[in-house]
Amino acid sequence: MSLAARFALAGMVRAPGRTLVRVLVLAASVALLGGMLLFVGNSLRTVSGTAVRAVPLDLQGPVGSLAQATRVAGGIARQAGVLEAVPTATAALSSAEHNGPSGATRAGAGAVLAVPPGDGRHIRTFRFLRGSLKPGGVVLDQQMAATLQARVGDRVTLRVRPGARAVRLPVTGVALVSAADTLFQPLNPALGPAPAQPPANVAIMPLQTFARTLAPTARSLTPASVRSNAQPGAQDGVQWQVQAQLDPVPLSAGSPTAAFNAATRTKNRLERSVPGQVQFVDNLSDKLNTAAGDALYAETLYIMLAVPGALIALGLAYLAALGTVERDRRDLALLRARGSTRRHLLGLAGIESALLGLAAGLLGAGVALAAVELLVKGGAHLTAGRAAVTIAVCVLVAVAGAAAARLGASASVLRGRVADGRREGQRAGRPLWQRLYVDVACLAVSGLVYWLTARTGFSAVVNPDSNPTLSLSVYMFFAPALLWIGATLLLVRARGGALAWIARRAAGRRASTPAGFLLASAGRRGAAINRGLVVVGLLLAFGVNLGIFSATYDQQATVDAQLTLGADVTASAAPGVVAKRDLTARVAAVPGVTAATGVDHAYAYIGPDLQDTFGIDPATFPRATTLRDSYFLGATAQQAMARLRARPDGIIVSKETITDYSLKLGDLLRLRVLDRSTGHFRVVPFHVAGSVQEFPSAPKDSFMVANETHLGRVSHSGGPNVVFARTSGDPATVARRVAAATAGAGTQVQNITQQRQVTASAITTVDLTGISRIEEAFALVLAAAAMGLFVALGIAERRRELATMAALGAPLRDVGAFLWSEAALVLGTALVLAAGLGWLLSEMLVAMLQHVFDPPPDALAIPWGFLAALGGAAILATLIATALAARGLRRLPLGAILREQ
């Protein structure tokens, strides 16, 4: 072992406490980075998995005939990586009719889907609510069944085009078609996916039944003719096609980009396996392409949340290294006096950093793995490769961090001459960034980007088709990134000048009292206090920013999911069942349910438009779900409900309806409402009671809200068909109880937790809870460590000064006051700084999410519990550190310290 290595090792062993602190601080910072690395890897796989699973139908290949579809599907199904490949067909439906006991009921234009028996094992475009697909029969979508008033066993008449031969078939089931926009899109492989406006009426038939009955009455589309049908909804013939679903497991193992590449390769291989016979419209790659963009956004978001914390944590390592400067100064002076060169000294620092970094890296990697395993739902999903990469990155970062902290802290010593070994190094002149005012420039550009983001909303681009996808610019992250950099540099530039000025003014010209001595000392230690303030203040700001952003993100994801689902828990039942079985009361009685209300989800025509119509009880509805003022136009939620309550025939309509029909408050509105007793639509007068743009469970396009009692009376619906419930506990648990309590009524129970998994954008499906927990835990630990280190560093740097005070006879209480008063000053100022900077950073990050969430957040969510814990941890650490410091002062070896030169 070389002399330098022996010297480095001896130095570390000689001061085990100091070495341990440096290792622990470095380990904490690399653990934060390592944890983030593991979490981001997991999250990207989650995004891939979510995107892959969200695609109900991966590939659709148009072909010219049933025979060709059957042949190609057989060939595709045999290929590796294919879960299912089936021949299918879609066709336009011009009309449908059902002759019931109360007369004939007609449904307008729609579409037919023809699938082979057993289809749907892996292709999830519809699911049966009642009955099943049987040869010679037809399954109706629930909306079409409701319109036709048809039940299983009834017979319906279908016609593919006006004048074509009508086909009369028995209804063998009712289904919920969940991917109509994809199923009935025009198939043009050259153009790719173009999800279409879903048809209002959908019938599903066995492929052979369809081929025998309806197909002969319509013309067949060929791949060459699809261009004429490129307009969504324009299909006027039979589209034979091959539908295929790929194995999601291998696609979910990597990032969305990797999944996208793998899916594209698989599609190309499948097309080559049946050369010239089929070209696919690739819905999966389209979704993965969007997910890749979202993943990039998520990665940037994680980086914005975590990297500042990790970098500030490295600042802690710098603070810890500063504790060794005095020793370094003496050791290096000794070494230089014995002939060592600067190179030797740098080598010594390098070896010490490598040893520290190795220990800290291994420890940090272990902590990161444990943190992810413990704090992230699902754990770290560790493989040998991922573990090796995590450990390698942690060790490398730790070694680099140790070297940077060591060289940064000892730079003045290393630069100095032998004679300078006894003196404190002083920087000559201001660094370049200060002369160029980089800090001010960063803050100015940050403000500009934020202003542009807030003013123009350029942060998000929503594709203007019927299924909006989100595309976010990573450039908008410049605002918070530059704010971090600018604020840090500004604090460094200030060197505690303001604090020092205030302290000096408070102390007066010549201090002569205990308080005056403390203030005079603090007033002249601005740079040292500022060093603590920069690290502690920024760490706390990191914690505040993280806490507020995570809480707001979580709040909005919940609001988003609640808006989509309708309430924390919903229980749907067949018409009439809710009232007959008194389900609203039964749900309200379930433990964990704080309020419940019945909702009648119906349909009504306004002019030629069929719109979702919600019959609600305005008195109980706001208690059972969340109504935000931003949902309504020209009124608060409370006012809107009051208006509805005041007018039994009142109806709240969407903004588009108000515009399209030139309506205003109080106007008469004649709607065609389905009378379930007769099966006919009848005209019912309503009066406009307000305008709405969002409503729980309502679609994004037009809809209406009316009084449930009035709607039920005019439509003879038999009462609500959905129960909304607000919960006080875990929605999933309460949903299970609700399902058990209403099991006999055939209800379908959903909860907000599962809804959050299937929201439209992959961004909001990224669960920030895991990384938030990791970072919040680290923020607490690091904030406490920062304050502890600041006090410890105070003792290390001022031990000679403190020993002199003690030698002069100053009571230890008075000596200790010089430590705790500075700690209190740093902590107080840091808390104020953190509140301001953290809030500003959160505002910026949340402003960028205005377009991610529906509805956008009204205000930041403040996690008071976490913020109290964060401040409490810093205060507690300060108290413990000052108590330990007071004990340490009693044990100061005054004689030995005062002998030091």
Partner: protein
């Protein structure tokens, strides 16, 4: 060497041994050192670096606990006092002038003296004004200068003024001219002599310089922690 230890001695140590470390790393800094100081005594501790001069000063001031032997102040063993009582004794009666002055770096000259007055309780007992004390050592024009703005000699004079502020019965000076050129050193020693004559405290100066030692009435020569010679002039 003296074995006498009158009960009325201001400060005394008998059979004083101070050792640092343990096992193979044990270093004996002082070995069976005895001495006694009367009020107004002028004693030089003479010896090369590492001979134990500073350790004797620290032991007399209660900054270092003896490994064996006794150190007493006005006849009372320091070991019998608790830490607070030792601190009070040190604050009220024993003052130091360190080799490197050891001024408090964030206090001005005036504040350094004022802090010592406050710490020793002298301020409460109606001690002299810091400005007046600094005037005594010729630094009336440097009251608001920080230690970093003072020369070595000026810093040492502030340290002397600080020590005087405590109104000590014993002034312990550790190489007070060690960092100074010979002219400045001589002026500092003249100042100490003049102040001792005025205030009447006992004076102990640790030095490796025989000329400095020669200015005092009595010299104890130390080598490797042992008293090797005692000379009285």
């Amino acid at each position: 060497m003296t074995a006498t230890e009158p009960r009325t001695a201001l400060a005394a140590c008998g059979g004083l041994t101070v050792a640092y470390g343990s096992g193979e790393a044990r270093v004996t800094a002082l070995d069976q050192v005895s001495l006694a100081l009367e009020p107004g005594d002028r004693l030089a501790l003479l010896g090369p670096s590492g001979s134990g001069k500073t350790t004797v000063l620290h032991a007399l001031g209660g900054l270092v606990a003896p490994t064996s032997g006794t150190v007493s102040w006005r006849g009372e063993p320091l070991a019998s006092l608790d830490a607070a009582a030792r601190r009070r004794t040190r604050a009220r009666e024993i003052a130091y002038v360190f080799q490197g002055a050891n001024l408090l770096p964030h206090f001005t000259a005036w504040e350094n003296v004022a802090f010592a007055l406050h710490a020793s309780g002298a301020a409460a007992r109606g001690g002299r004004d810091p400005g007046e004390l600094l005037g005594l050592v010729g630094l009336a024009a440097k009251l608001d200068a920080l230690p970093g703005e003072l020369s070595g000699g000026e810093a040492q004079r502030v340290a002397i003024a600080r020590a005087l502020g405590q109104r000590p019965a014993l002034l312990l000076c550790d190489e007070p001219t060690g960092h100074l050129d010979s002219d400045t050193g001589a002026r500092v020693l003249d100042l100490i002599d003049a102040l001792q004559a005025e205030f009447g405290f006992a004076l102990v100066i640790a030095t490796h310089d025989e000329q400095v030692a020669g200015r005092l009435a009595r010299t104890l020569s130390l080598r490797d922690g042992q008293v090797v010679e005692e000379e009285t002039r």
